[in-house]
């Protein structure tokens, strides 16, 4: 069997979350690779929208930022941010959003703002960008992040992007659309139970329950039919390595 990296596995699993015909709000890096992988395999009609306002981008090469000109040239449409967020995202036209973050709690609430006290921070992070509105207005979000107890604390220092807030009912009461669908890490794939709390659906090959539990800041639930994560296929690896990221910008 071919060797693969954690990143390649995460790209492959994230791609599987996408359905043909989905409209997805993409970020650079792993989400971008996952979307382009899905587009070249099972989801040719996936529509890629970027928060910079490019609609149905067809990047000829790997974009280096979400404002890259390869996302503009050949796109179906380009709109000002005020319209991208208003007429496309807030209006409910986006099926899937990708999010990352420095901290994620058991309900999928994400912090990408600050570590420590907001007014006297230990680490000042970039902030929301469009993450808060993506988390609030897409049908489903997919969260991709490395797995460590620092990343999965009992409580996040700042809720940048609401997940299920205090649980599925709570999110619905607040009038937020959709919600987080899956969390894909370098150790496991997790989903949300009926109450809106994370549980482990599959462990990556070679990863044990203990390893995942030790990398999580609360007593983590494991699915009753816990399985091993399906690794990336030869075809997927070939596409990632030779077409999508030939220089290994994100995968090495």
């Amino acid at each position: 069997m071919t060797e693969y990296t954690d990143t390649e596995l995460m790209i492959s699993r994230a791609a599987q979350e996408l359905q043909d015909g989905d409209t997805t709000l993409v970020g650079v890096g792993i989400p971008n690779l996952a979307c382009n992988l899905a587009k070249r395999t099972h989801a040719p009609d996936l529509e890629l929208i970027y928060e910079s306002g490019t609609i149905d981008s067809n990047p000829s090469k790997l974009p280096l930022s979400i404002g890259d000109p390869v996302l503009a040239t050949g796109a179906r449409s380009i709109v000002p941010m005020i319209q991208g967020f208003g007429y496309y995202l807030q209006s409910g036209r986006i099926d899937v959003g990708f999010l990352g973050g420095a901290q994620i709690d058991r309900h999928g609430n994400i912090n990408s703002t600050v570590i420590g006290d907001y007014d006297d921070p230990n680490v000042r992070l970039p902030g929301s960008g469009g993450a808060c509105e993506i988390a609030s207005n897409t049908d489903r979000t997919i969260i991709i992040t490395p797995h460590s107890s620092r990343r999965f604390p009992d409580e996040v220092d700042f809720v940048t992007s609401p997940g299920y807030v205090g649980g599925r009912d709570n999110r619905e009461q607040l009038g937020l659309r959709g919600g987080p669908e899956a969390v894909i890490t370098d150790k496991a794939v997790m989903r949300f139970d009926d109450g809106g709390e994370l549980y482990v659906e599959s462990l990556h090959p070679g990863v044990t329950r203990d390893v995942v539990q030790n990398a999580t800041g609360w007593e983590l639930q494991f699915g009753s039919d816990l399985v091993e994560t399906v690794p990336p296929t030869e075809q997927e690896l070939d596409l990632i390595r030779n077409e999508l990221d030939p220089d290994g910008v994100y995968t090495e």
């Binding site: 910079s52 930022s65 503009a72 907001y118 929301s128 960008g129 808060c132």
Partner: protein, 299 residues
Amino acid sequence: MECAISAAVDDGQRLYLGGFTHLIPFAAGHEIIRQEYRDLDLVRATPDLIYDQMIAAGCASKVTFSWAGNPGVGSLRAFRRAVEDGIPNEIAIEEYSHFGLVSRLAAGAQDLPFLPLRTYIGSDYPDHTDAIRILENPYDDGPDEIPVVPPLNPDVAIVRAQRADEEGSAQLWGILGEIVEAAFAADTVVLSVEEIVDKRVIRSDPNRTLISGTAVDYVVEEPYGSHPSYAQGYYDRDNEAYLEWDRQSETHESTTEWLDEWVYGVDDRAEYLEKVATDRFLDLQPQTSYATPIDMGDY
């Protein structure tokens, strides 16, 4: 540019230097650093290298923003040093999400007391950003409560476009970000363009004129004025410069060295461009790809 900045900008103002990765007014930012303005509130959804440079140079006392990073590379080290450690000076921050910030500018552009948006419910923003308020929905349909943000009117907006006529009627294409909203929200607008063209060019395609000359106070022709960011159709982003900044800005000292050489060490943009090797610009030049023209009809 020197005259336009000197006439338009004052210490203590709220400034917007526009763009979303694209069409960033680097030349104007460097001129502001050279003219040693202080105590500025720098506004933009996506502060990037130019704001990092202005912060390192001590121009800013505040940043109003929604995502502060080196796009596609990492964090803004000078911004972080200022926020985390007060180097070279303490700066205040006022923080939104992208839609919140562009909605503030859109409210400013329309003289509205606020605009509503379906963001912030369930987040911690309202606890830390006083300007975000929650209103009751006066209608039966829709959510019971809706967040609103107030207008944001920069004293000066400095924006770039690919082309404009002498009056400043500007056509820009590719990624637009919040440039148009900021220009209409600002009291004074400095427009800097890749090329000034005959007004017949602009008037041949009025739907593409996103900023009318009547909204513009100063027009400056400055080719490559967005380098190392890019201008769709004119040049690509100089990614090496973005990666280099990540290294160069690791300490305040090394950042200052860069400013000494590339900003204080040159008189103007022309001298800056001379310092950048010519082959670098050739590498950044895309092949042409013209849009299929439209017929406006001669009525």
